[in-house]
Amino acid sequence: MRKSFIPVLAVIFAVVLGGVAMAGNTANQTVSFEVSAINELSVSGNPAALVIDSATAGSQPTFATDDSTTYAVTTNEEGRKITGAIDSAMPSGVTLKIALVAPTDGTSAGSVALGVDAVDLVTGISQLAASGKLITYRLDASAAAGVIESDTRTVTLTLTAGVS
């Protein structure tokens, strides 16, 4: 009885292994993938101090500018825009403007005065990656604004939804 049991087991093994070997030239895997919404915006640093210290007699004080910083943007969505806002209002008679060079296919709004409410700076941004895009700040002050000691504002740039 024990002698006949071993050959039976060997036959069963061979059949099973033979079946696996026959299916070995094909393998299937299900690969799941996903690309999430990506909206990345960064700046290269802070601009230099904007100092107004001259004028032509009879004209308003000469504005100051800075174009030493840049921004980088990556988005895989369509219809994005970049807005800008400052954390608190500028002193009376003083205006801080910003202009962003638009990435390909985007549209720059040009030099725009910043306030505490977000304003559009670049619109029409869709599915792109761009870096080294110039940021230009301009400070204007009327004579009536008077003398202003060194002050700061935090400018928040936001890549957000919206065509206009």
């Binding site: 990345e40 101090a49 007699a57 009879g58 009327s142 604004a145 504002r153 935090t154 400018v155 928040t156």
Partner: protein, 163 residues
């Protein structure tokens, strides 16, 4: 006890990273600005010749005026004034007077006789930007000044603080 440390750290760290990613569409810049004191004054040119040439019999020679020039100023400070002085005194019996039209909010002192020391011409200037303000010179000569061959004086206008 050590087995609890890792899960607790992960619980603290993961939300922090999640929050940072959520804000990656935002970038901040700090903008520093300053407006320094500015006081700029200029004139349009030199006035014409002030030629005392006539008189009514029995009266001193008639004064001669010139209002052909203007001044411009830009000032972002408060309580400024414009003073004027001559480089040399006028000849005996002669007087050179100056009047400046005042910018808004300031006060003109009218015709002021000029001398070798600074005289106030306009006071109370606060944060203004004006151009084309009239400068009027008046030349007065007494009969006893005699005849004076063409001469000149340099008038220095200064935009300065009230002392």
């Amino acid at each position: 006890m050590p087995k609890l440390v890792l899960p607790v750290m992960l619980m603290l760290i993961l939300p922090a990273f999640a929050g940072a990613n959520h804000l990656d569409n935002v970038a901040h810049q700090t903008v520093t600005f300053q407006v320094s004191p500015i006081s700029e004054l200029s004139v349009s040119g030199n006035p014409g010749l002030l030629h005392v040439i006539q008189a009514v019999a029995g009266s001193e020679p008639a004064d001669v005026d010139d209002a052909s020039t203007t001044y411009s100023l830009t000032c972002n400070e408060e309580d400024r004034k414009i003073t004027a002085r001559l480089d040399d005194p006028m000849p005996s019996g002669m007087e050179l007077m100056l009047e400046l039209a005042a910018p808004p909010g300031a006060t003109s002192l009218g015709f002021v006789a000029l001398s070798g020391t600074d005289q106030n011409i306009v006071t109370g200037i606060d944060g203004v930007c004006e151009t084309g303000k009239t400068i009027t010179y008046r030349c007065c000569a007494d009969a006893d000044a005699g005849v004076i061959v063409s001469d000149s004086r340099t008038v220095t206008l200064t935009l300065t603080g009230v002392e």
